[in-house]
Symmetry: C2
Subunit: 134 residues, 2 copies
């Protein structure tokens, strides 16, 4: 039973991420903003420190709305680790836009709230081998 | 009561991390290896993809044992998000070795097992602003 449950949660988490990423890669950050919890903690390679809170994320993503476009992208070897009300999704992402190839390490920590909805409480994006990549 | 519990877990997690990091910054990876769960998933900037499993981490860390030394380091603004049997620790780390300054984004996901021990099931290390940093 536990195995079935973990299997189902894995499918749910992957679907949520795929849907948000599909919108993201077409310039629409709202998929992720709808998934982020109020207490989201966020890392990417463009800031000196982590970002904290949904309002901070909304302000950041408004600055890049419509400016991201991938011709194609691939989620590579996703893993979901489930324990109780949390699920940790990790994967590599390869995203191609024109001549540019972006290779990412990605962590998303999902938490299931009282309404049973899964929300992202932590997101960490980093470049694969940044010395070679950028 | 819940708040007190969350407060206590935060202290426990921070202490575990500080102890492992203190050993790490003096060339000893065993602090982290003792904390890693069998199903650890790991990102750092030096690999094309994530590393998976405790045996993989042991093999990797043997290659750098005794080779890391920080003159001083600082954990910056740690945050712990607790939900049930999981706790997500995020912080920035500034580590100084001679003339070199390393600035990191760090994620550690801890899971409490049946024995009540907290183990790290996911670790993600990345450089702060790698284009400027390296």
């Amino acid at each position: 039973m536990k195995e079935t449950n973990t299997h189902t949660i894995t499918e749910v988490i992957l679907k949520l991420e795929e849907e948000a990423l599909e919108r993201w890669e077409n310039g629409d950050p709202d998929g992720y903003l709808e998934l982020y919890a109020e207490d989201i903690v966020y890392f990417d390679p463009f800031f000196d420190e982590k970002l904290e809170g949904l309002d901070t994320m909304k302000a950041y993503y408004e600055t890049i709305r419509g400016r991201i476009h991938a011709d194609r992208y691939q989620i590579i070897q996703p893993v979901v680790q489930v324990s109780g009300t949390m699920a940790v999704l990790t994967y590599n992402l390869c995203s191609v836009s024109g001549e540019e190839v972006y290779r990412w390490n990605c962590t998303e920590v999902y938490r299931q709230g009282p309404s049973m909805k899964w929300k992202i409480i932590h997101s960490h994006w980093s470049f694969v081998k940044p010395g070679e990549n950028r």
